[in-house]
Symmetry: none
Subunit: 257 residues, 2 copies
C-alpha cells in the first residue's frame, strides 16, 4: 500500500532546526512516506539531535538526500505542491491539505511536497516551482505552526488518501458497536427476567411497570447488547434473586393484594 | 468561531516529556483549542523546556490545569474520546480522528479528548472512561507517533470540523441518543454503587471485580446515559439493597474471609 507514497518526496528548504528534521523523519516513517530531501540545510542533518528525535526512523533519516537548491530537489517531479502560511505573493488560490494532496497520491510519477524555512517560509521564486499551494487552516491569530507539525499534518492527510484508495470501510458514523449484536429474542428474555424481579422487590407495580420498562428498554437498546452482555446482565439478576430476603418479598406481595 | 472548541479539553495522562507539553500548547493555540488538562505529570509542566517549545503559546501553557487523576480531569464532561495506538483491549471498533472528532465539536457541553503516556498509552481502566476510541491511521510497521504529533493531527482535524461546521453531516443518523447526557462523575456514582452491591451479594469477588466492572462500564457507556436514567438505575439498586436478605449477605461475607 505504501508504494503509493514511495514516489512522493517531502522537500524541506533550508531548515534550521535539527530536532525538526528528526521529528519529521519519525512522522514520515509513521505515515508510510520514505523520501526526504533537504535543500541547503542550516543545521546538522545526521547529528545527535536529529537522531534522537527520529527514534526508530533513523534509517529514513540516514537515507535523506541533501541537495544544494530547490530545482535539484524537484528533478523528475511532475506534480509539485508548496506549503505557505501567508496569503500574499501567491498567484493562485490557497487550498487545504485535504483538497490538494490527493492530487499527489493519484499520480504514477514522481511528485513533491515542499516546506519552507521555519522563520520565513518559501521565497516567491521558490513558490513558482509549484502548481498548487496549501495552507493548513488555523483557528487563531497565532498561525505559525511548528515545521514538524506542519509536515505531520500533511503526512497524515497523505496516509488518509492511501487508506481511501483501498476503500477502507468507514461506515461507522456513530457510537462504536460490539461486533455481534444479540438477537431481539435474547434481549427480550433479559427484559422479562428484569421486569419479574423488579415487580418482586417492589420497585415496579403492575400499573407503573409498562412505562418504566419502556425507559429501561430504550436505555439498553441504545447500547446494542451483545449475547455475552445479555448473559452478564442475566447473571446479575439471578444472583440478586438468590440473595433476596423472602420475608420482605412476602410483605410486598401482601401489600399488593 | 473558536468558541466551538472552548468547551473541549485536551487531557494528557502522565506525560513525561516537557518538550511535548510545550509543543502541544503551541499547536493547540494554532488550532483554536484553549483547555489543556494534565493528569499527574511526570515532568515539569511550566519549566524552561516546555516554555521554549510553546513559543507564543505560553499563555495557554500557563493556564494548563494539573490534576491528580483522570476522573478529576473529566469532571463535567458528557462526551469523552480516548486515543490508542493498539487494537487489543478495546471492545469496540476504533475510528479515525475524522470519523469520531466531529462528535466532540457538535456538542454544546463540555467534552474531552484523552491522550495516554508516551511509552505505554492509557490503561484499560482509563480507556473505560471514554465512549469512543480513536486510532490515527499509520502507514508502516512503525506505528508509534510522537505524542505532540498525535495531538497536532487531532487538533488539525478539530479545526477542520470548525471550518466545515455549517455542512457537518447529521450527527446521529442511527441510534437515537438522549438529549442530555449525564456528566462522567454522575455515571461514576452509579458504577460505584453497582460494584459495592455486586460485591455484597457475592456476584463479584475482589479479584474478579475490575474485569467484570470494565465490561459493565463499556455496556452502559455505549448508551450515553441521561441524568434521569442514572437516577432510574440507582433507584433499582437502592430497592435491591433494601430487599436483600441480611442472613445470606452475612454468609457471603463469612466465605470471603
Amino acid at each position: 500500500v505504501s508504494s503509493y507514497l514511495d514516489r512522493l518526496r517531502i522537500v524541506l528548504v533550508e531548515p534550521a532546526g535539527a530536532l525538526n528534521i528528526g521529528s519529521i523523519s519519525r512522522v514520515m516513517k509513521n505515515m508510510g512516506l520514505t523520501q526526504l530531501v533537504i535543500v541547503n540545510p542550516q543545521c546538522e542533518v545526521y547529528g545527535e539531535e536529529a537522531t534522537r528525535m527520529a527514534v526508530h526512523a533513523i534509517d529514513l533519516l540516514a537515507t535523506a538526500r541533501v541537495v544544494p537548491d530547490l530545482p535539484t530537489a524537484l528533478q523528475g517531479c511532475t506534480r509539485v505542491i508548496a506549503t505557505t502560511a501567508r496569503d500574499r505573493a501567491i498567484p493562485t488560490k490557497l487550498e487545504t491539505p485535504r483538497q490538494a494532496l490527493p492530487w499527489l497520491v493519484e499520480s504514477n510519477e514522481h511528485t513533491a511536497l515542499v516546506f519552507g524555512r521555519e522563520d520565513s517560509g518559501l521565497t516567491n521564486t521558490e513558490l513558482n516551482y509549484a502548481t498548487r499551494y496549501i495552507r493548513i487552516p488555523v483557528g487563531s491569530e497565532y498561525s505559525s505552526l511548528n515545521l514538524a507539525q506542519a509536515v505531520g499534518i500533511c503526512a497524515y492527510e497523505l496516509q488518509m488518501c492511501v487508506c481511501n484508495i483501498d476503500d477502507l470501510p468507514n461506515p461507522q458514523p456513530n457510537i462504536p458497536q460490539p461486533l455481534d449484536v444479540a438477537p431481539v429474542e435474547l434481549v427480550e428474555g433479559y427484559y422479562q427476567q428484569l421486569e419479574t424481579l423488579l415487580l418482586e422487590v417492589g420497585y415496579l407495580f403492575p400499573h407503573t411497570a409498562p412505562h418504566r420498562m419502556e425507559k429501561l428498554r430504550r436505555l439498553y437498546n441504545r447500547s446494542q447488547l451483545s449475547p455475552n452482555e445479555v448473559a452478564l446482565l442475566r447473571g446479575i439478576l439471578s444472583q440478586f434473586s438468590w440473595a433476596l430476603d423472602p420475608d420482605k418479598l412476602a410483605l410486598i406481595a401482601k401489600k399488593k393484594d
